[in-house]
Symmetry: C2
Subunit: 153 residues, 2 copies
DNA sequence: CAAATTTATATCGTTCACGATGCAAAAGTA
DNA sequence: TACTTTTGCATCGTGAACGATATAAATTTG
């Protein structure tokens, strides 16, 4: 079986890729009414935890590149969720802060994590094994992140 | 802690999303020389396993929508990897088949899965716990897929 | 202090991903 | 057989994701 490994069935990455897409899809019923996308929801969670952050910090916390986050923030600014102001000590920075609308959305989003986890329990009849995946995923993420930032030089 | 669950740290989906992106990134050093992307690699794996499939079958095996796969295949056709011919019994179908170039690429790609799994082992110093994630991810994928196809009516 | 380098962000081009819509062929129905 | 519905694929528009590149401000260096 020379090509046995080249089968979809045997591949972890394909499963991660698919699981991530479908899980993001599961957020649709909750995010559509708020008029936001999943990546925008991630940005909001970062800002709800700590308001007024430069683009770089947000990107770093989401493991995204700034050239992904910048247009994302521009769309969110157009939607009235955030403001982007020039930094005071460092004028190269853009400090991103929540608008009233962005702050208030936290209240509406409060129950989303619980809803999602309930859905996953209902779908899979098992929560424990997903909680158990978390440390493994973290290890993978940290390792890949380190590896890939090293590769850039 | 009213908003405790609205923290990135507590979310499985964010980890899946990030792990999937970074893992796809880990394929870059192997796929760039072949001139293909990760989703194109997935399509090739589907066709290597069984040549001459309609668009719908490919999309279904990858858990993607046909309106994602169609442009993907068009790009792959332009790159000379696949041919798309009209179906004979059902002329609505487009049968996708590998070209010589597409077939030959299998030989060059043969070692990619092994390389990737070696990298993950090296990065995380542990393979077992990732292998253990596979059934959980499959359960999640199957459950979400069923749920989301039901939701469409 | 001037020049070179680094840093923070933005812009551009390409590829996904997918909802909405369109269209022609096939299948089901009156 | 005519009509309706379904199916298979394509097109369009929007929003990511990211490599490459640009630009201005800060930092380092000579």
């Amino acid at each position: 079986m020379e090509y046995e490994q080249l089968k979809l069935d045997n591949q972890l990455c394909f499963r991660l890729y698919t699981a991530a897409r479908l899980t993001m899809g599961a957020y649709h019923p909750y995010l559509d009414p708020l008029g936001i996308t999943y990546p925008q929801y991630l940005v909001l969670m970062v800002l709800w935890e700590q308001d007024k952050q430069p683009v770089n910090d947000i990107a770093h916390k989401l493991f995204l590149e700034t050239n992904t986050v910048t247009p994302l923030l521009q769309r969110m600014e157009k939607a009235g969720l955030v403001k982007r102001t020039k930094g005071k000590e460092d004028t190269r920075q853009r400090i991103v802060s929540l608008t009233k609308k962005g702050i208030e959305m936290r209240e509406q989003a409060k129950h989303i994590p619980e809803c999602l986890s309930n859905e996953i329990i209902q779908i899979t009849r098992e929560e424990e094994e997903f909680v158990r995946m978390i440390p493994s995923l973290d290890k993978l993420i940290q390792g890949l992140k380190k590896q890939q930032t090293n590769q850039k030089h």
